[in-house]
């Protein structure tokens, strides 16, 4: 039944113009891609050992303001009575808040990209691992990466929307450079992680994954630590995630604690 719902979503989205910012690439015909695979609703949170974490794009600084689109907060229309009432009350904190100035607090440029590591391959070429956040994310590459680590497929449009509306998305790309030639090789996505947040108190890390052939190098650890550091810098104190049994130790080493103070995560299950 869930599959049927997703099937209908894809058909619907073909009719309406999907907002493709330059950052998300969507296929022409999403139907064939999405409907051919079984769909699971509960896989977003899985932090499985094969998927290490690499924050890729810290999305909160999208200059086009596109990520704001899905935020339901409207400018509070201070009603006539409210404005009079606020004028009378002494320590009133009621104020008309311009969304622009509010977002201005967060609109720091978060496009961040640097070379994490470099190594020389046996064939002489130099391979760079590039960490990047707040930059472009090709949703096809992400889907491919999810396939490599063995995750069930999710509808591409939903994946794209989720990435676009995540508070932070960080990625790792590998780039091969042959010394002596001017041009750099193609960038290949080898890791990603994203976090959703209310921008103030809580954040949850989802979808952490690293290409299996690049695992075991400490890349995943660096990724998670970057996300954590960026979140803590913004004073977001509650960072949570839902880890598979095999990766609990991995996260414990990074400073996470299982069921701290008896807090457990619960999930909604519709009763039909």
């Amino acid at each position: 039944m869930i599959f049927g719902l997703y099937g209908s979503l894809i058909i619907r989205s073909q009719q309406r113009q999907v907002n493709s910012s330059s950052q998300i690439f969507l296929p022409e015909n999403m139907k064939t891609l999405a409907c051919s695979q079984p769909v699971s609703t509960f896989d977003s949170r899985r932090q499985v050992p094969d998927q290490l974490l690499f924050p890729r794009n810290f999305n909160c600084g999208l200059p086009s303001g596109v990520s704001r689109r899905f935020k339901i907060y409207h400018q509070p229309k201070s009603s006539f009575w409210e404005s009079i009432r606020s004028g009378f009350e002494k320590n009133s904190t009621i104020q008309v808040i311009e969304p622009a100035s509010e977002d201005g607090l967060e609109e720091e440029s978060l496009l961040d990209e640097f070379v994490l590591s470099e190594r020389t391959l046996p064939d002489g070429s130099v391979e760079k691992i590039i960490f990047s956040s707040g930059g472009e994310v090709n949703v096809y590459d992400v889907q491919e990466l999810c396939d490599k680590v063995g995750w069930p497929r999710r509808p591409l449009s939903k994946l794209a929307a989720a990435i676009k509306n995540s508070y932070m998305v960080a990625t790792l790309h590998s780039m091969n450079h042959v010394p002596g030639s001017d041009e750099n090789g193609k960038r290949k996505l080898i890791g990603m992680a994203r976090a959703t947040s209310d921008h103030a108190f809580n954040a949850t890390i989802w979808d952490v994954l690293v290409d299996p052939s690049y695992q075991g190098q400490g890349l995943g650890k660096a990724l998670v630590e970057k996300i954590i550091r960026a979140l803590l810098q913004r004073d977001i104190g509650s960072i949570s995630l839902f880890a598979d049994s095999q990766v609990v130790d991995f996260y414990q080493n990074l400073g996470f604690q299982a069921d701290p103070e008896g807090i457990k995560g619960m999930f909604w299950y519709p009763s039909y």
């Binding site: 339901i72 907060y73 949570s240």
Partner: protein
């Protein structure tokens, strides 16, 4: 045990973010003893930070507010008050809940609260059901909530359960953000 809904005062429920009066919301957080922080921090029992609350509400995908007709004992005002329709600006904020999301795959529910005097009347359940309704209407079915021991009963009664995939809930518990980062992170 729930008292019948008939004995509840008149309520309205709203998901309109502009109905959220941050001043009154701050008072509600205080009345329910919620600071916004999940884990106990040093200097606990701190009131919710109004600036952060404003940001959190602005960036929550769904907000639900419940207003109740204020009980005015003085007879002069009571008649007029009963005649006026209950709206978000003349009602008293008695319940709240919010959810953050990536707007497509997952959502997390936070800060569901009802003032102590009106608990066990089904208001919390109403808030939660409304949150779920809005989320599922946007095709988001992966809805999570972090619950301590007491909240687990409440969420369990509203259709929440342990993770089917048996994942472990983990939270970051190292130094709080107040401490300077002493270069403990690589790079």
């Amino acid at each position: 045990m729930m008292i019948s809904a008939a004995s509840r005062p008149p309520l309205i429920i709203s998901t309109e973010p502009s109905h959220v009066d941050l001043h009154r919301l701050k008072d509600l957080y205080a009345a329910c003893n919620i600071s916004g922080h999940r884990l106990r921090r040093e200097g606990a029992a701190e009131p919710v930070d109004p600036r952060k609350l404003r940001i959190a509400v602005a960036n929550s995908f769904v907000v639900v507010s419940v207003f109740c007709r204020p009980i005015d004992s003085s007879s002069s005002g009571a008649f007029i008050q009963r005649m006026l329709p209950l709206t978000h600006w003349n009602g008293e904020l008695v319940g709240f809940g919010r959810a953050s999301s990536d707007s497509s795959l997952t959502a997390s529910i936070h800060d569901v609260m009802v003032i102590p005097s009106l608990r066990r009347l089904g208001i919390g359940r109403m808030i939660l059901k409304r949150l779920i309704r809005v989320l599922t209407s946007k095709d988001i079915y992966d809805i999570a909530a972090l619950c301590d021991k007491n909240e687990r009963l409440f969420f369990g009664a509203c259709g929440f359960g342990d993770d089917m995939l048996n994942s472990t809930t983990m939270m970051y518990t190292r130094s709080s953000s107040n401490n300077a980062h002493q270069g403990q992170l690589i790079l």
